[in-house]
Symmetry: C2
Subunit: 133 residues, 2 copies
């Protein structure tokens, strides 16, 4: 469950659109032909492309759009659907997210996103399991 570079690239593009506050890029990220949905942390479910994109517009153009960066992404492919699980580093804290992508031709486009709290930060990939000394 990993080593799916095109899927990780699509996942990164989602967070890059967020970081750039780029609603046009965000609209590109989301699928156009498949139904889409989004569960922002704490929010009621949003269903439908227009509703989902309006929520991102409101967040990105709001007074304090959060800075979010993906970490420790893991991808799995199920035919024409790809699921990426990642941590979201946000203002010194972490969330965990599910991002579900649909293959549209040569690229993956987002059809569903959920993010929610996680108790601990991601494991340090370069750290030994136990301290040396």
């Amino acid at each position: 469950m990993s080593a799916h570079p095109a899927l990780i690239f699509a996942n990164d593009a989602f967070y890059r659109a967020f970081a750039d506050r780029d609603i046009v890029a965000m609209a590109e990220v989301w699928a156009e032909t498949d139904p889409v949905s989004c569960l922002h942390p704490g929010w009621a479910p949003l269903i439908g492309r227009d509703v989902v994109l309006a929520s991102f517009k409101a967040i990105l153009e709001g007074p304090a759009p959060p800075q979010i960066a993906p970490e420790a992404a893991e991808a799995a492919v199920h035919g024409d659907i790809g699921i990426v699980i990642c941590y979201e580093a946000i203002a010194g804290d972490y969330l965990v997210a599910t991002n579900v992508f649909r293959r549209e031709g040569a690229r993956w486009r987002l059809v569903h996103h959920q993010a929610g709290p996680v108790n601990d930060p991601p494991p340090e990939p370069d750290e030994p399991a136990s301290p040396v000394n």
Copy 2:
């Protein structure tokens, strides 16, 4: 995005296995050939069928397995993948969940689950939008 009875049935089966504390039924719910993953509320991501099922065994056989019932489920189909979003009623409170199913022959089996907090309960389906007087 709804009216997919087989998918809603599979979603109900997941929560029924939970309510019945039935780890055998829970193992039936989860896909056997596709990679599976699970984001329990607050937990680090669990990846792999054995790890995921071990977590459910620990929860279901623990001292206080939560009573969880799905509400307001909405389903969308993307080829051989189905996504169900629902509220989870749990001890008078609510979570929202993403359940991703893979079609295996005639039935849908779970490949990914995430649940997290939600600020408000689901809307009452039978309640008028504004009070009648």
